[in-house]
Chain length 293, copies 2
């Protein structure tokens, strides 16, 4: 594995599905340094150790940061805010470790970093692998989770170039394609493509559950529904955190969605079958061209 | 195949995915009578004949009905209304063929039947197989489309019992499980479990398409999104028809959905993380228990 020679000790702050999968993939790709896992649940950490995801575990964040060359914050979105705040208080910002993360929202972390440091710390490289699962926890970790997936990095102009390169190199070595974009562009795109769909799926399941008095309405749900609501099996705490972490962009997406939904209601109410056909046809054309990619 | 001996000639009014699949399955299960396909597109009918879905095709509805013992209306929801109206005008209501259909909405057909006949015709058995695909047309027909799927029949108390039994026997013989329920219960359940999800999927794709100026936003959509929007690849005409045919129940479902979506927006706006967690957790529990079925 071609990582800058300076990276020997990697610390994971949080070691669930994503952190655990990075650890497994690093080993598979030949990384020979030390992997250390920090978390708040002794049980989860011990499970990770027994599965040999990492070499070492600790409940002490000071110990976790002490010798780290690279700190990977791999926690849910709000926990990532708290962890980033702690890390930025504790480390040497100019010569300390490179820091990166994997959270689904970037704007809130940017804000925390500037609050704590006054300006954006050059060795903090915000990132987000577009990979996941409705499963969670390090028991679900897979060494191939990032193969062929996109990872978005959102470097700022004030970022240290070599830190960004090292993080990109690591992701590439795990089989991922690295794409760079701005923090707010990332948060807008993720709100629309991921956060909104999860909220819609949770909502749909709740609407059905309310109607399901007596008869089990889910017995009559066909295959499309099953696919549609699979993501409603995702971890509620993680998605609560994402909803809070990317609140502004999510609220905008929800507003956009409501406007388009209202157009359909209006067309149905007014028996405006041409508008309905136009709306559905437009979506089918887009979806079909997306499916071909 | 154990069908009442009186059924020799079966006529399909409409021969797309569902009609074609019934025809294929009937043959596979050993039905030896005559299968006749009526439609409006000569090309589609000729394709069906060349694939041996049916024995005979016609563009003349009078000829199609002339010797039929069973008429299966297998057309999109609004076309089914028109076909049912024509059939009820043309046939002998007491000694003519048994009539059934496969449309996703039943209330509109009940209304048409009563408009035309003054009362519900005893040999009309409204039905709906909960099977389908985002593909359409008889080229997509499959002999196993109904294996293990539910078929809802919505007989009325004034229905001729033996007609209902014959239709149920046919569906059972094609591998389907037959469930009976009321017309409005069917339409409510389908609005929530099928029609609403399709509308949500079309809407989501359109919201994304609008945001996709310049950069292809779909490149950043992960697996969950792909599943979620698969049904937006469904035939727009068919879904336009369904939206019109089951308009009242669909509008109610959309209202319910909006209310639940508004609860989430409000919780995000108010930083009410406990309510968000409750809403998402409730949905996950329901979805997980549904997934286990």
């Amino acid at each position: 594995m071609k990582i800058d020679g300076s990276i020997t000790n990697i610390t994971f702050l949080g070691l669930g599905l994503i952190g655990g999968s990075i650890a497994l993939a690093l080993r598979k790709k030949g990384f020979r340094g030390n992997l250390l896992g920090y978390g708040r649940s002794r049980e989860a950490l011990e499970q990770a150790l027994s599965r040999a995801l990492v070499d070492e575990i600790t409940l002490d964040i000071n110990y976790a940061l002490e010798n780290a060359d690279l700190v990977i914050i791999a926690a849910p979105a709000l926990a990532s805010e708290n962890l980033l705040r702690q890390v930025l208080f504790k480390i040497d910002l100019s010569n300390g470790p490179i820091i990166t993360d994997v959270a689904s929202a970037k704007g809130n972390l940017l804000k925390v970093a500037i609050e704590v440091c006054g300006q954006f710390p050059p060795r903090l490289v915000l990132g987000h692998p577009l990979a996941g699962s409705e499963k969670s926890g390090n028991g679900a970790a897979r060494e191939d989770l990032f193969e062929g997936r996109r990872v978005v990095l959102t470097p700022l102009s004030s970022n240290d170039k070599s830190s960004v390169e090292i993080i990109a190199t690591i992701w590439n070595s795990l089989g991922a394609e690295v794409v760079e974009m701005g923090v707010s562009e990332h948060d807008q795109i993720l709100a629309a493509t991921s956060h909104l769909p999860h909220i819609l799926a949770y909502t749909l399941v709740n609407v059905l559950a309310k109607r399901s008095k007596g008869k089990n309405i889910f017995d009559y749900a066909a295959g499309g529904f099953r696919d549609f609501t699979r993501i409603a099996g995702s971890d509620p705490t993680m998605w609560r955190d994402i909803a809070m972490a990317n609140r502004e962009e999510i609220l905008k997406s929800m507003d956009d969605f409501r406007l388009d939904l209202d157009l359909i209601s209006a067309a149905i109410e007014q028996n405006d079958s041409q508008s309905l056909l136009d709306i559905f046809s437009k979506a089918k054309i887009v979806r079909d061209s997306f499916a071909e990619v």
